[in-house]
Amino acid sequence: MSLVRPFDKLPTLNSAAILLVGTDERRQQQLAEAILKEKKNFKINIHVATSLPLPAERDHVRPRIDLIAFMINMQSKHSLRNVEASLSHIDANFFLGKVCFLITGVGRMNHCSVEMNAVRKLGNLYCSPVLFCELDSEGIRVATAQRLLRMLQICAGHVPGVSALFFSSLMKSSIDE
């Protein structure tokens, strides 16, 4: 069982790696494809996992993970619990901006089994931005992919002047207190 650490590997030149963790593999695939379709000038590695910890065998092959995006589906409590369990397998240094939560399924309020407050508390607790997206719709998927790409650039250090630490303070929604 290996703890994912943010700085234990050397970064590869002009590339970045993002890890998508979530129970819904189909959505993960769709999002990964959308990210790959975006115009970018650096190499991207997208890793997909259903839960952490990652298997230790491939640890040496894996590049340094720059951004971890946890996908939570509001309509299944199982995804939330899975994410909460996986959060304990990450090194604490990741929470300085290299983690974000993607929430899907908020569109149909009567089917939500996860409460909004729980998700917001999770975001507050781990000082990480919470992005709401309906990944079933094409336009929102493309927009989310663009956002994630920009965040990945910043986390990997490709953007001078902005560091991942800024996320938690700059990405607070105006509705939150």
Partner: protein
Amino acid sequence: MLSLLTMRVKALTAEYNQWQKRSPEIISTNPDVLVALGKEELQKVDHDLEMVLSTVQSKNKKLKEDVKREQQWLDEQQQLVDALDVTHEEMKNQVVQFSEKRALQEMKSKMLKIRAYKEELLSALGEFLEEHFPLPEEDESAKKKKKSPAEEPTVQLRLINRLMSTPHEPYLTINDSFWPPYVELLLRYGIALRHAEDPSRIRLEAFHQ
């Protein structure tokens, strides 16, 4: 949570120190290059600021509309509350007054009604008795306590009055003013009973049960 925040503080202070240490490097000494670069930078900034401005303006508009809508709703609710308060006050006043006067008045009216009914019943009884139990002709000097001129009625009514006024002394002493056959009639039908020891006293019996 606290540990995370302390880590953030440390990382942010470290970054802040790094920024403090840096000083801006000169990109190039060629003024044209600098002017072009500066223009490009300013245009980018201008474009970004315009986007920000339009976003903020549209958000502002939406918020204003929301505020107006909520204000309207609040006003309507306030009106409702005021109207309900007025009705509530009126009803409360009514209730308070009535609870004192009403009870008394109701009792009084009930008493009056019952008394009237009693008078009615007694007069009806008197008429009935008058009709069916006529006076024997010789006894005209009998004392008439009630409105009825008959003798039999007097007995009845006297019995009833006795019962009503002195429940602990329901006996009427029979004297010669009562015509014996009527008395016998009453006794035979169980409407009146003789007193156990004194045969000259009779009382009304509850024959309706």
